[in-house]
């Protein structure tokens, strides 16, 4: 088994590296949770406000940054006003801001006018609740210290009830907390993008209509890129993921053959 395990790891590394080195790509077909996510953003009118919470650690950026990029491209292209904030994770502040500001410069959108980056405040669940009551008691200023009462946002949005949709990009439990303390309590429509290992946990909320859409892992991001008709990192990463999945299936097959052979040998 010891030799087997090492061999498994080496094989997996090869199966991931080869498609990346050769730039292989696969087409992905968008699934319903991603399409409903996409539609709930696409149906908004220019100038409508949406909020995006970045609730992940940079360690999971491989899955969540492609989602953030695709989503930001979509909202800026549509001319929506966006409130970005990360009350669930202090560590994502710089990473999130640099990704968003890069895309903002591409679309010519202006910080503190077309979009706002509010950053981190401690308190998590307490903050989620307060966002439903008064945004400015939690965030009097943007992450870079611009007083929000001097911005257009202050006139248009009092609390999260005034945004058309709240989107959480998360690697932990923040989506459930936001659903409990903010979305359900204050009637804020919500959608989420989560890591693949967490995705199956959110299907009950999707089926109940509490989540308007769901992006699950790199595949979710790749589907969103397909709907946007862009070829980003997620679509490129799908080749490696596909081959890794095929390897896992082969391994399971081998494991079963080995098991049945051993069973026959032992009578």
């Amino acid at each position: 088994m010891k030799l087997h395990r090492r061999l498994v790891y080496v094989l997996l590394l090869v199966f991931i590296l080869v498609p990346m080195l050769f730039g292989l790509t696969f087409k992905v077909k968008p699934t319903k949770p991603v399409m409903t996510f996409f539609d709930s953003v696409a149906e908004l009118s220019p100038g409508d406000y949406i909020a995006v919470t970045l609730s992940f650690d940079p360690s999971t950026k491989a899955e969540l940054v492609p989602m953030l990029k695709a989503l930001t491209e979509h909202v800026f292209a549509k001319g929506l006003s966006v409130i970005f904030l990360n009350p669930g994770s202090i560590n994502v502040s710089d990473l999130g801001f640099s990704v968003i500001s890069d895309i903002a410069s591409k679309y010519g959108t202006i910080e503190n006018s077309d979009w706002y980056y509010l950053g981190y405040v401690p308190g998590e669940k307490a903050v989620y609740q307060k966002l439903g009551e008064d945004l400015y008691s939690v965030y009097p200023a943007s992450m870079h210290g611009v007083k929000l009462n001097s911005t257009k946002l202050y006139k248009d949005v009092r609390n999260m009830e005034d945004v058309k949709i709240l989107i959480d990009l998360a690697d932990g439990n923040s989506t459930v907390d936001l659903l409990t303390y903010l979305s359900t309590k204050y009637d804020v429509p919500m959608a989420a993008g989560v890591t693949a290992v967490m995705a199956s946990e959110y299907y009950p909320y999707l089926e109940s209509g509490q989540l308007k859409g769901l992006l699950g892992g790199l595949r979710g991001a790749a589907e969103y890129e397909t709907l946007l008709n862009v070829s980003g990192r997620a679509r490129r990463g799908m080749a490696a993921q596909t081959l890794a999945h095929i390897l896992i299936m082969l391994l399971v097959l081998m494991g079963n053959i080995e098991y049945f052979m051993a069973k026959r040998k032992n009578g």
Partner: protein
Amino acid sequence: MKIGKAASILFLLLISFELKGASSGAGLEGMLYFFAFLILFILFRSPKIPSLKTREIAGIKALEEAIGRSTEMGKPILFISGTKPVPSVSAVAGMNVLGRIAKLAARYGTPIVSPHNNSITMMAATEEIKEGLRSSNNEELLQDCSIFYLTDSLFPYAAGINALTSKVRPGAIFYMGTFYAESLILTEHGQNTGAIQIAGTDSVAQIPFFITTCDYLLMGEELFAASAYIQNDEASLRSIFMLDLAKAATIAYILIKIFVVNL
């Protein structure tokens, strides 16, 4: 019945105020639910109700076997408290299981190693272990135990535990509490070292990983039931029955609602 009446009056008084989330109906339903629970809990404290028997929980029964095996091998045991700190409910339930583990460890004279990702949880665990050792008259064992803070960050915490597992080679590893993506990283590594592993978690998404890699698992509410089962007093045992009763009531409520909605 007096308590029931008082609670009903209080409930009516409270709903006369404006309810948060009233437009979705979630406020009223939530309040009703909370009050129903509260009244049942108070009523079930009555000594008139006969004592209840609970089935054995395999994971709890296996604690002794795991600690015994560790002792035979001359190895310490490792207790990992999850990533949600005390006073989260899963961590509190985990601490009750730790109390039981400490008692058994004291009986066998097996030291406990317990790294934590929150200092409050670390303090709670220290007290729980001390209490366990004291009740088994083996307080000296605390000198050999190692209860400490590692880090708050998820993956550094996982890396630290894996390094520790490789170093101390525990005979048994216990995971009790809430876990996220680090669960498989921890348990698969623990499996590789050959330790007997028992987990208890309320993290639904991580249950498949624990099932695959652990010898025993307290799934979801079993962790909370186990916590009450370990305490083994009348009130705690009644709370398990209460939990089942509430579940039956929830099922009935769902069925009625389905019927009403589709009528």
